[in-house]
């Protein structure tokens, strides 16, 4: 099971890095979305995979039964999903606004803040 998850996570990372290397901002943002999902799977796998025993404590017991699923990575993944989702929403709007203003989604053409033909600094008075 772990091996399959590791392979899947690796696939996520590979695809996301491939997308992030693109010049097109839309692909980069998709790469970032996949990257955050890959990280969620990493956290989940790092917490050790167990089968089918929910982390509940029976009402007449004080400790859970042996071999329950680890609840902590689930809490971490939940937090990470919420954060990644809000960032993705912000980035989508930012990319759209940048596309409107700069009229391009090619990062090679996004040189407004750092113009290519910027003058060299003056040498003397």
């Amino acid at each position: 099971m772990e091996t399959a998850m590791v392979a899947l996570t690796g696939l996520f990372f590979a695809v996301s890095i491939y997308l992030m290397l693109s010049r097109h901002v839309v692909r980069i943002i998709l790469g970032i979305a996949l990257l955050s999902n890959g990280v969620n799977l990493t956290i989940f796998t790092a917490g050790r995979l167990t089968r089918e025993v929910p982390p509940f404590i029976a009402s007449d017991a004080y400790v859970p039964v042996e071999g329950i699923a680890n609840p902590l990575p689930q809490a971490l993944v939940l937090t990470a999903i919420v954060i990644a989702f809000s960032f993705f929403a912000f980035l989508l709007v930012l990319v759209f606004r940048a596309y409107q203003e700069l009229d391009s989604d090619d990062s090679d053409h996004m040189r407004v803040a750092e113009p290519e033909d910027a003058a060299e600094p003056p040498i003397g008075y």
């Binding site: 007449d60 937090t79 990470a80 930012l94 910027a118 003058a119 008075y125």
Partner: protein, 534 residues
């Protein structure tokens, strides 16, 4: 429902029962003040005047809270607070050692100065779109990142300060701002995502997220592989946050685009969060004795400080030059980490404090100069000395401080770092520090020369005439307050150096940090040792 009699459970095994001392509540004060006043300001966003008063009141309270916390920690030592009173390592703990406390104090100070400056800098629509709420929430995120003792919680605060900084950087939505914000947002998000990957591996290897617990377990671990992997991932993530070469591309692409107050608070605080995290990580959790690690950091530090200063020399826009000066300073702070001697760490801490205050002051005064000249372009700058000789004097002092020349606070930490590098015979690092100081001086003095000594440049007809606004006296006051702190630390450095030395001592002895979080276990171990010896 089954109402079977349950045997009594002794909660004392799982929880901390004694009430924390009243002064210890200051640990959560920056967080609560930042969020509460941020929310209040958001509620009154239509009434700009009232919102501003509320924000300044909040920033003052924030500063006082961080000041109180720092005094408390200086007098009583490390303060630990467990959320929900769950015994560490189960609950989230906030651990405020001296390093976290003084970083938070500098955050409060810089935040207040920038808040006052923004009263003249941010116009009504920018304030209505949430300048102050974003600022307060970002400050809360930065300060709490310095105070938390849980690595996943640190990640959460990184994200809080990041999303608030996104809000700040796009305020105004000018073309170049959106361009800069895009690069800033993407690269910073990638950096924090790598931080999260490292957190996942840390949890997988050590089974805990509490920093003190990780430190304990990592010290016991003999294999190098997992520790080196995690340390390398953290180094990548935090070096990117700190804008260390070669991961610095996002900073010069974006820091010159937003409002000057936004650039100033970013330059002062955000990169230093990365430095703080690196110090915490490599001093407290994963010692730098891993093979190759300290050499890598030393090379990165030297490259960052030299290339940053060279980048500043190559710019004709003053704000863009400052972005590179910020990067150069990051290199100097990093230099102390691989040396890991008391002198070096003391220099790094002192320089970080100095840089938080002075980089902000540098941006603020450049903002005032740019408003008076109507341009940030060196080709067209000039004529300021005739109008404002006092401003020239202030800027010159800030230049001296930022370049590390006497009589201001940049001098002492550089002496410490140079001495520490020569002590262990790494002459090239000492040389790099001195060379970067020289290059920074040239870059900044050039701005001074062109803006103040050159006569006013004539404007072409199509540019029209520029009517300079009246001098922003409140903004000058905020800048002079920052400069004053640097002047005091430069002329009378003894108390500051003592505190930096104490921080260095704490950093080099991580058991102090661990013992503060797990006092009972240390006491039990002490008892056990006593029994054995008897």
């Amino acid at each position: 429902m089954a109402t079977a009699e349950k045997p009594k459970i002794d909660l004392a095994d799982a929880m901390l029962l004694p009430e924390p001392a009243l002064a210890d509540w200051l640990v959560v004060a920056p967080l609560c003040i930042g969020f509460a006043f941020g929310a209040l300001c958001l509620m009154m966003r239509k009434n700009v005047a009232q919102q501003t008063q509320m924000a300044i009141a909040g920033l003052m309270l924030f500063f006082l809270a961080t000041l109180g916390l720092a005094i408390n920690v200086i007098e009583n030592g490390t303060v630990v607070m467990a959320m929900g009173r769950w015994l560490p390592p189960f609950g989230i703990t906030f651990v405020v050692d001296l390093m976290g406390a003084i970083f938070a104090l500098a955050t409060g100070f810089v935040g207040l100065a920038v808040g006052v400056y923004a009263m003249g800098d941010a116009d009504k629509s920018e304030r209505r779109y949430g300048f102050y709420p974003f600022l307060l929430i970002m400050l809360a995120g930065v300060a709490t990142a310095f105070l938390t003792g849980d690595i996943f919680n640190l990640y959460v605060w990184f994200e809080v300060l990041l999303i608030a900084s996104f809000g700040l950087i796009v305020l105004g939505s000018r073309r170049e701002q959106l361009d800069g914000a895009l690069k800033y947002a993407f690269l910073n998000l990638v950096a924090t995502t790598f931080f999260l990957i490292a957190v996942a591996y840390t949890y997988g290897v050590f089974g805990t997220l509490n920093m003190a617990d990780i430190a304990r377990k990592s010290a016991e671990m003999s294999e190098i592989g997992p520790r080196a992997t995690i340390a390398a991932l953290f180094l990548f993530a935090f070096a990117m946050k700190a804008a260390a070469f070669p991961l610095n591309a996002w900073l010069p692409a974006s820091y010159h685009t937003p409002l000057i107050s936004v650039s100033a608070v970013f330059a002062g605080l955000l990169t230093k969060v990365g430095i703080y995290a690196l110090l915490r990580l490599f001093m407290t959790m994963f010692p730098v004795d891993l093979p190759g690690l300290s050499l890598t950091i030393a090379i990165v530090a030297a490259a960052t400080m030299i290339l940053g200063a060279l980048g500043a020399l190559a710019q004709s826009d003053m704000r863009r030059a400052l972005g590179f000066i910020v990067i150069s300073g990051i290199g100097i702070m990093l230099a102390g980490l691989p040396l890991a001697s008391p002198t070096a760490l003391s220099g790094t801490i002192f320089y970080a404090m100095h840089s938080m205050v002075m980089m902000t002051a540098l941006y603020l005064i450049i903002g005032i100069m740019g408003a008076q000249m109507g341009t940030f372009d060196l080709h067209r700058a000039g004529g300021l000395y005739v109008k404002y000789p006092g401003l020239a004097f202030t800027f010159l002092l800030i230049v001296l401080s930022a370049s590390g020349l006497p009589p201001l606070s940049g001098l002492w930490p550089k002496i410490y770092l140079v001495k520490a590098s020569i002590d262990v015979g790494i002459w090239w690092l000492a040389g790099a520090i001195l060379l970067s100081g020289l290059l920074t001086t040239i870059a900044l003095v050039r701005i001074f020369g062109f803006s103040f000594w050159r006569s006013q440049q004539s404007r072409t007809p199509e540019e029209g005439t520029y009517e300079a606004p009246p001098l922003d006296r409140l903004g000058v006051a905020a800048t002079v307050a920052l400069l004053g702190a640097s002047l005091v630390a430069g002329l009378y450095p003894e108390p500051f150096i003592q505190i930096a030395d104490r921080v260095a001592g704490e950093l080099l002895n991580p058991t102090l940090y661990i013992d503060a979080v797990f006092p009972q276990e240390t006491a039990q171990m002490g008892d056990a040792i006593n029994e054995v010896s008897q």
